[in-house]
Amino acid sequence: MVKKWTALVRFGLSVLGVVVGTALLGTMSRPTPEQTVGQATAPSALTGPRLGEAESESLYAAVDRSEATLSGAYSGEWDDHDRYHDDEYGGDDDDDDYDWDELWEREDDDWDDRWEHEEDHEREEALRLRPAFPAGSLPTLRSRGS
C-alpha cells in the first residue's frame, strides 16, 4: 500500500517536473527585451527563418518597451536642451515661437557694430602707419655762411 502511494507520488512529481521543466525551458529560451532589440537588427534576422506571428508580436512589444525605457532615460537631457534654447532665444524650441525679425535685426546690429569697429581700427592703423612728415615734406634749408 505504501509502495503504491509512493509510486503514485513519484509519478505525480515526474509529471510535475516535466511540466515545470518544460515551462522553465520555454521561459529561458525567450529573449530579453534588450537582446531582442539587438537581434532584430542583426543581419541574421533578414536571412534566417521567419518568425511566427506570436513571436513577432512579442518582439514588437519588447521593442516598444525598450524605446519607452530610452525615452525615459533621455527625457531629462531634452528638457535641459529645451531650457538652453529657451534661454538662448527667449522662446520655446519651436521655430514658430521665434521673433526672427528681431533676431536678424539684432544680428545686423551686431555686424554693423563690428564693421564700424573694424573700420575705425583700420582708419586708426592707417593714420598710425602714415608718417606725419613723409619724405620730401620738409623744405630744403641752406647754410650759406655768415
Binding site: R130, A132, S143, G145, S146
Partner: protein
C-alpha cells in the same frame, strides 16, 4: 610732396631770415587751415621778436640798448633781460672757445674798417672777386682772389696773447646787472644770430621763453605730433623735429659761389652754422678785410680756410665752433674740431674740401669730391 608749410622771410640782424613751420599731415582740412592760421600768427610774433633783438643788440643803431651800454662810462648798468641773456651767451662761448670767439673785439673790427652794417646786397656789390684758384672738382670755377691778409703781411701771432677783455665782464642774470671796466665795448655779431635762432625755435615749440618776452608757442594738436620748425638766420640754422620726422635736408653753399650747393647734409636734430671769410668782406687800405678777427693778432684772421660748417646741438654753439676753427686755420682747426667730435665741413683757400670724422654719423653727399676726408684716415 611738400607738407603743410608755413614760412616767413625777412631781413633782420643784417642778414636774411627764414622761419619755417611744417605742420604734420593727417588732420582734417578745417583743422589744417586753423593750424596754418595759428602758425602764421606765431611766425609774425617771431619776426617781431627778432626785430626787437636787432633793435636791442645792433651796434650800428645808436639808439640800441647795446650802443647805450657801450657809450656809458658807468661801470655797472641795469639792462634788459634780452641783453642780459644774449651777453651771457656770448661770454659763455668766449669761455668755451678760450677767447677765440669773444664779444670784446669791437675796437679791432672798427680798426679793420667794419664800421657800418654789411646788410644783404651791400657786400656782394663791394666784393671785388679777382683771381683765385679754382675749386677742385667744381669744373670751371670763376677765377677768384683770396680775401684776407696776404701771407706775410699779417701781424705775427702770439699764441700766448689773446685779447682778454671779455674776462672782465660780469653779468648778473638774476638782477640783469652788467659790470665791466669803463671803455670795454661789446659786439654781439659773432653770436647773436645763432643765439636768436635757438631762442626762436625753442619758443615756437614751447620749450622756453616767458609770457610777453618772445614769440608765442605754436599750437599743438590734441593727438598728433607737434610741427617741425626751422630758423635760418643768415645760414645759422636751428631745427626742431618731432619724433618720427625725417632729418631736415640742408645744403651747404659753395663759399666761392654762394648760389651753388657743394654739399647736402641731413640734419636729424640740433643746428648747423657756416662761418666764412668771403661773405662779409670789404676793401681796406688797399687790401681786403673780413669780419672774423683773430684775438691773437687783433686783425682779421690770416687763415688758410675760407669756410667752416659745423654741426652742434645749438646754433650758438655751432656758430662759435665754426668761427673758432676758421680762425685757427686748416691744421689747428681740424684738430680743434676732431678733439671735440664736431661734425664739420671745411673749405681751404685753395678750394680743398675737408670733412671731420664725426660727419660720418650724418647722411651727407658732396657735389664736389672732398680733397681730404679725415674720416677715412
Amino acid at each position: 610732396m611738400m607738407g603743410q608749410t608755413v614760412e616767413r622771410s625777412f631781413l633782420a640782424l643784417g642778414t636774411e631770415v627764414r622761419l619755417v613751420v611744417v605742420l604734420p599731415q593727417g588732420p582734417a582740412p578745417e583743422r589744417v587751415r586753423a593750424a596754418q592760421a595759428q602758425a602764421s600768427a606765431a611766425l609774425e610774433q617771431a619776426e617781431g621778436w627778432i626785430r626787437r633783438v636787432e633793435s636791442t643788440l645792433s651796434r650800428f643803431r645808436p639808439d640800441s640798448e647795446l650802443s647805450q651800454l657801450n657809450a656809458s662810462q658807468a661801470s655797472s648798468l641795469l639792462v634788459s633781460p634780452l641783453l642780459t641773456t644774449a651777453l651771457s651767451a656770448a661770454l659763455r662761448m668766449a669761455e668755451w672757445t678760450e677767447g677765440l670767439v669773444n664779444p670784446t673785439l669791437l675796437p679791432e673790427l672798427e680798426a679793420a674798417g667794419y664800421r657800418q652794417s654789411l646788410a644783404p646786397g651791400w657786400a656782394s656789390s663791394h666784393l671785388n672777386l679777382g683771381d683765385v684758384s679754382a675749386h677742385p672738382g667744381a669744373g670751371s670755377s670763376p677765377p677768384h682772389r683770396v680775401v684776407g691778409w696776404s701771407p706775410g703781411s699779417a701781424p705775427p701771432r702770439d699764441p700766448e696773447r689773446r685779447e682778454s677783455r671779455w674776462q672782465a665782464i660780469r653779468v648778473d642774470r638774476r638782477f640783469h646787472l652788467v659790470t665791466r671796466p669803463p671803455g670795454v665795448r661789446v659786439e654781439l655779431g659773432g653770436t647773436a644770430k645763432g643765439w636768436a635762432a635757438d631762442q626762436v625755435v625753442r619758443r615756437l615749440v614751447g620749450q622756453g621763453g616767458r609770457r610777453g618776452r618772445g614769440p608765442a608757442a605754436l599750437p599743438r594738436g590734441e593727438a598728433g605730433p607737434p610741427p617741425a620748425v626751422a630758423a635760418d638766420l643768415g645760414g645759422d640754422l636751428r631745427v626742431f623735429l618731432p619724433p618720427g620726422a625725417p632729418p631736415w635736408p640742408v645744403t651747404v653753399a659753395d663759399p666761392f659761389r654762394p648760389e651753388t650747393a657743394m654739399a647736402r647734409i641731413s640734419l636729424p636734430e640740433g643746428a648747423m652754422a657756416t662761418s666764412t671769410t668771403l661773405r662779409r668782406s670789404w676793401e681796406h687800405r688797399g687790401g681786403m678785410a673780413h669780419h672774423i678777427v683773430d684775438p691773437r693778432t687783433g686783425h682779421p684772421a690770416d687763415t688758410d680756410l675760407v669756410s667752416v660748417t659745423a654741426l652742434a646741438p645749438s646754433a650758438l654753439w655751432a656758430e662759435a665752433l665754426a668761427k673758432a676753427a676758421l680762425i685757427l686755420g686748416r691744421q689747428e682747426g681740424v684738430r680743434y674740431l676732431e678733439e671735440r667730435g664736431v661734425p664739420a665741413v671745411l673749405v681751404s683757400r685753395t678750394g680743398e674740401l675737408l670733412t671731420t670724422t664725426a660727419l660720418r654719423r650724418y647722411r651727407h653727399e658732396f657735389h664736389v669730391a672732398p680733397a681730404h676726408d679725415f674720416a677715412a684716415c
